[in-house]
C-alpha cells in the first residue's frame, strides 16, 4: 500500500504509525459539544469517518462513486416529494384511498420507490390529529421526505411528545381543539409513518401544484397543519 501511486491518490502514506495498540471509537477526551458541524475544521469523529471510508474503499467494499451517488440520492429526497403525494390525495379521492390502503404501490404511481420500508399513512380528520415520533432514535420516512430535521432527533421532542403532545404541538404554534383526539405514533426501523394533513379550507379549485406548495415537511410529521406555515413550508425554502 505504500507504492508510489499513493501520492497521486490521496497523498497520505501509512508510515505515520501511531502508538495506540488499542483504539476505541469513543474517546471522551475528544468530544466536541458544539452542534455546528464545520467542514473546515477536522474533528476526531470526522477523522474517523474519513479513515473508515478510506479503509472500506481500499478493501474494495465500496467505491467513492457509490458514496457520492448515495449522497446525491438522499439529497434528491426532499419534502417536495411528500407534498406532491399529499396534493394528489387531496384532489383525487381514488388515489387517497389507495394511498391509505396500499401506500407503497400508490406512492410508486407518483414515481417514488420507498424500498423495503413499511409505511403507514395517517389521515388527519376533524376528529383526529396525528403526530409522528421515533422515541428510540430517529426513524423517519426518509425515502419520501429526506433526512429528518434536528429537532425530530432531539431528546426534548422524543421524550415529551408521547407524554404531552398538545404542549409540544403548541411550541410549534399548533393548537389542537380539546374535542379533537391527538394520536402519537412511534416509528421503528421497520415501520415508518407519514401524516396526510387535512386540506385547508378555502382551497377549493386550487391546482394540484399550488396545493402542494401549501404542504411543508412539518405538516407531514404532524407538528403543524397544512397551510399553517411553520418550518419546512416549501415557499420558505
Amino acid at each position: 500500500m505504500s507504492g508510489p501511486s499513493d501520492t497521486h491518490d490521496h497523498g497520505h502514506h501509512h508510515d505515520h504509525h501511531h502508538d495506540h495498540d488499542h483504539m476505541h471509537p469513543y474517546d471522551p477526551d475528544h468530544h466536541h459539544p458544539h452542534r455546528e458541524d464545520q467542514d473546515d475544521t477536522m474533528t476526531y469523529y470526522k477523522v474517523m469517518e474519513s479513515a473508515v471510508r478510506e479503509l472500506l474503499i481500499e478493501k474494495g467494499l465500496i467505491t467513492p462513486e457509490q458514496v457520492h451517488r448515495q449522497i446525491e440520492h438522499m439529497d434528491s429526497r426532499t419534502p417536495a416529494n411528500g407534498a406532491r403525494i399529499v396534493a394528489r390525495a387531496w384532489v383525487d379521492p381514488d388515489f387517497k384511498k389507495r394511498l391509505i390502503e396500499t401506500p407503497k404501490e400508490a406512492i410508486a404511481e407518483i414515481g417514488h420507490d420507498i424500498g423495503p420500508m413499511h409505511l403507514i399513512v395517517l389521515e388527519n380528520t376533524p376528529e383526529v390529529h396525528n403526530v409522528v415520533v421515533c422515541t428510540l432514535c430517529s426513524c423517519y420516512p426518509r425515502w419520501i421526505l429526506g433526512l429528518p430535521p434536528d429537532w425530530y432527533k432531539s431528546r426534548a421532542y422524543r421524550s415529551r411528545v408521547v407524554r404531552e403532545p398538545r404542549t409540544v404541538l403548541r411550541e410549534f404554534g399548533t393548537e389542537i381543539a380539546d374535542n379533537r383526539e391527538v394520536l402519537v405514533h412511534d416509528s421503528t426501523a421497520d415501520m415508518r409513518y407519514f401524516v396526510l394533513p387535512m386540506r385547508p379550507e378555502g382551497t377549493e379549485g386550487m391546482s394540484e401544484e399550488d396545493l402542494a406548495a401549501m404542504v411543508g415537511r412539518d405538516a407531514m410529521i404532524g407538528v403543524v397543519e397544512a397551510g399553517a406555515g411553520g418550518t419546512g413550508q416549501l415557499a420558505a425554502e
Partner: protein
C-alpha cells in the same frame, strides 16, 4: 427516552455537513448494498456508548462511532488499520492547516 421529562423543543436546524452525509451514505451502503451490518447493529452500537455520549456527541458522531465499533467487532477492519489510518489523516490535516487558514 419516550415519556421522560425534557425541556422545550429546540427548533434550530442545521444543514447536514458533507461528512455527516458521508456517514449516512456509508451506513446505507453497508446495510442495503453490502449487508455487512444492520440498522439493529447501529442501534445496539449507539446504546453501548457511555451514557454521556448523548450529551457530548452529535448525532452523526454517534453513528460513526457505532458503525466503526461494528466493523471492528465483525472483523471488517482492524484496530491497527483504523489507528494508522486516522493518524495519517490527522497528520495530513495538520500539514494543510496553515493553508486552509
Amino acid at each position: 427516552m419516550g415519556g421522560l421529562a425534557g425541556g422545550e423543543v429546540n427548533r434550530d436546524e442545521h444543514d447536514y455537513a458533507l461528512w455527516e452525509k458521508r456517514v449516512d451514505a456509508m451506513m446505507m451502503l453497508l446495510t442495503n448494498k453490502l449487508q455487512i451490518m444492520t440498522v439493529d447493529q447501529l442501534r445496539k452500537g449507539i446504546e453501548a456508548l457511555p451514557p454521556d455520549a448523548y450529551e457530548n456527541m452529535t448525532y452523526y458522531e454517534r453513528w460513526i462511532a457505532s458503525v466503526t465499533n461494528t466493523l471492528l467487532d465483525e472483523g471488517v477492519i482492524t484496530a491497527d488499520e483504523l489507528a494508522s489510518k486516522m493518524a495519517a489523516i490527522e497528520a495530513q490535516a495538520q500539514a494543510h492547516a496553515p493553508e486552509a487558514g
